[in-house]
Amino acid sequence: MKKRPFKRATVLLLVSILVVSLALSGCGQNSSQNSSNQGQQNAAANEKIIRVTVSGTPNIDPAVGQDYGSCTALANIYDTLVFPQNDGTLKPMLAEKWDVSSDNLTYTFYLRKGVKFHNGDELTADDVVFSMKRLLTIGEGFAYLFTDVVKDVTAADTYTVKFTLNKPFAPFVETLVRLYILNKDQVTQNIKQNGQYGDMGDYGREWLITHDAGSGPYTVKELQQQAYLYAVRFDDYWGGWDKDAPDAFKLIDSTEGATVRTLMNNRELEITDQWQTTENINAMSKIPGVSIATIFSGTILNVMLNTKKAPTDDVNFRKALAYAFDYDSIVKLFPGSVKAKGPVPHDVPGNAADLMQYTYDIEKAKEYLQKSKYADKLDQYPVEVLTNSDVPDLEKIALSMQANAEKIGIKVNIVKAPWISIVDMMSKVDSTPNACIIFVAPHYNEAGSILESRYHSKSTGTWEQGEWLQSKEIDNMIEDALSTVDKNERFEKYKKIQEVLVDLCPTIWVLDQAERRAYQSDYMYWPGAELAKQGKPVTSVMGYNFYFHDFKIYPEKMKK
């Protein structure tokens, strides 16, 4: 075997491969370096963009979108009649002013004239009527805010809209931050026939997944499923533009730690999502030019206990779980957050200050467990705890619950599921687990919002109520409070409801979340982060903390 028979073929192949790969990598290095530098410069010179990571591709149909990413997108693409400010009050937006009838049943809004939709059409009262009707018919997203409230909506003239209510509803104007105004003509032109909505076909649903029909400061350029939403500035925006305002924003669908960190490091991301682990946030804070924003936004972390499923249908069993919960060590895992004091976050108007508190007390937990009807058959009734697999930090809570429940003899099984499955599981009482660990925020800035969306029977079947409380008494109390126009009286009623809830213990109220996000403080001005730094409140209406129109960006300050 002295002869090497394969030599020629090998050498030939090797040489050719070498040449090819050298050519590839060699030119690759040079030209790509050049071009990527060029690209960088281009980006630096031209692109004034803010990129934020979100969980899930935003759902930009105003009658469907409801989660954080969708709310952020909708707030920037569409306009609303009123606009939530950081101090918790509202300012006029599309509506210049409004009247309320003496019986509190008729609201008349006078629209701003000359507001242009992205396609150039003028926004009129017809569009408002259409938007409300479309929302009510489709019935998803924020429709439930209006379903039982709004009786009728009519256009009195081109610039006047009249809402008639079924019964007085005190925070009606507050809820209008969730009525995004669509361009009626544009949507109608893009309706797909043979849909589920009779004459209206599919009501434009398919088209509106990837297009917008709004009048907001930004307009959708591209929506790539499971990738991103890219929107650019609408030059003719009626609100005008600051010279340093961003030209575009991009909501990137990824909360994966490694991805987010790499993007931050490369300055390819301006603001992270709030689902990053504490470990990852701390690591990102070490990147030069990156700061951490800690913002209370009315979000509360709940362990929702299914009150219609054994063993959490027993109030004493629920109290046992609430006392067997190690609040302090959990709060420590979420820097900046504080222990929740009850069903309503401490920064939302109408929260009750002096409620009875559940504390970590194994002895008390055992005491309540003894009183429960499951005390002597615990092994037959394991507790199923559901966490969101996209948010790794929640697993820490689940495991802590598991360890502490074990101390009083309760077996806990942890179920991890992605968000969309959670929504599906919670749509039926039988498939809703005993305990769901979920963040919830009010939809408008008042205790009534969170009380209604969390504990009123009409929110059962949505991810916002895993309790399945279905108590006529509490429903009535909530409705009564919401129809009470006098503020002090209403807040007193809110307090009463919170007391009843604490006694029922349908939920373990864990903590009021301080959203922590890493952001590029060197070259971006983020109004919300600045306010939070000064200890001032930031709007708790989800999505409006990312009203990019008011941001400022200075790409020339970007350090590589």
């Binding site: 690209g39 960088q40 469907v64 499923q225 790499t262």
Partner: protein
Amino acid sequence: MLKYIIKRLFQGIFVVIGISILIFIISRVVPGDPARMALGPRAPQFAVDELRKEMNLDKPLPVQYYYWFKGVIKGDFGKSLNTKRPVITDVKEFLPATLELALLSGFLFIIFATIIGLLSAQYRDTWVDGLTRILSYVGIAIPSFVVAVLLLLIFGYLWPVIPTLGRLSSNITPPPTITGLITVDSLITGNFAAFFDALKHLILPAIALAIGPLFQEARILRSALIDNINKEYISVVTGYGLPKGVIMRKHLLKPSFIPVVSVMGLDFASLMGNAFLVESIFNWPGLSRYGINAMLNKDLNAISAVIIIYGVIFLIVNIIVDLIIAWLDPRIRLGGE
């Protein structure tokens, strides 16, 4: 030969129908009302009922299957729960990225397996051979998702010279979509910046997928070469004084590739399976990542589509593999004709 291909295709059609029945059964075993899931918990009942009728959910199962399969043939897999749009649109969007990755990693492992196989046969029982042998064991032992995680650790944090995530840097303008393969499209349009950027993004996931089969194929090639060189016919043809090149090509390389190619079909299957994890790890926007998201979200229409498409791809690959073997092996080729 043609008859053989037609026969294989005919068999293939039956297999695809079989897969469709299998996946239909799997997807209907899952509890839940697909219409309600598609419209959301708060949607009014009339809309749900309307959609149930539209999806033929009110009919008995075999009838449902009939309508469903009729749709599938036309490319209508229904709507995705996740993306709220027709699954076929998603497939068109995500498939090219997966093809691009699979083609490159397939290309990598064939080329390098050949080189390394030749080298280790050439330098049998030297350190080259030993190293190949050890690496082939490493290739078997470390699952590709672990390789992917390790590559991410190395190139994402410790030595960030190659991009680790996505298909293209955000500052590069993507070429217009012609084939959907960014590397090809950018070459066609002469956008070299995009080409090299796309290639750089491809390299790590492609390595993660290719590294496992690569060294094993090299080992198989090596053994086949060594077996064949010692066979009598080589000394016979050498005795005839045939040119060395002809001996190499026709009598040594060709037969030695037969076992390699027959394993390649299986390797390609495991490559496609591994892509499900590797694409997610590298955030590669391909059909496999879409598929795994669909599976985790119980997005049944999307799951069905992805599985049927992979079934068809795997079928085609196997037919190609069989054809190559037939071409390499005169016994099969002549027998088949």
